[in-house]
Point group: C2
Chain length 93, copies 2
DNA sequence: ATATTTTGGTTTATAATGTAAACTAGTTTA
DNA sequence: TAAACTAGTTTACATTATAAACCAAAATAT
């Protein structure tokens, strides 16, 4: 009847991040923070979790002299997102 | 961009329950337990929360000599479910 | 030059939530 | 009449989410 919803994706903030990353090549930390209206701390923690799971890659570099954190979704992340959406459809028909 | 997902519905078990209740007149505790593959304890707690929120009504009666708990979704619950689904679509496009 | 604020984050403490184990009360079966 | 089952509830614990507090460097104001 109901399959399990990937708990990593079943979280408002992480889902928002993944949703954004599904539609762009890559996104900066500050961009994700603005779009999701999250605090930096919360976002940082959730990006770590997605990264740990291999759903995204997080690249730290520099934009001029400022640190720059850039995130991209991985193919594993894309698969997981698509699967999550499919399972979700069992719930919301 | 992303509206908030009603935290009461953004829970696998509660969402499963609401999903089931959306498609039936009413459902017995044991029916919900089987369909959602939840433990009785967990289900009991989550039904309380949905009931507290006014999303469902919980009626206790008897089936022969056995206690019987019957749940139905309220109009408030239906609205909340529909709104949740709409918001969710912002995330999963 | 040097305080002060801002930017771009991370760490960590706390609050909120989810879950199952332990329990209650009554019923059926052996 | 004792053991096992049904139908749940309570409660203790584990997990998760979140923001406050923090850090380092850069930009700005004094």
């Amino acid at each position: 009847m109901f399959d399990n919803l990937d708990p990593l994706l079943h979280s408002q903030l992480r889902l928002g991040v993944m949703s954004l990353l599904m539609s762009v090549e890559s996104a900066e930390f500050t961009f994700l923070k603005e779009k999701t209206k999250s605090t930096a701390g919360n976002l940082s923690v959730q990006l770590d979790k997605l990264s740990e799971a291999g759903y995204i890659t997080v690249l730290k570099s520099f934009k001029g002299k400022k640190t720059l954190t850039t995130c991209s979704i991985t193919s594993k992340g894309i698969k997981a997102f698509e699967e999550y959406v499919n399972v979700l459809k069992q719930y919301i028909r």
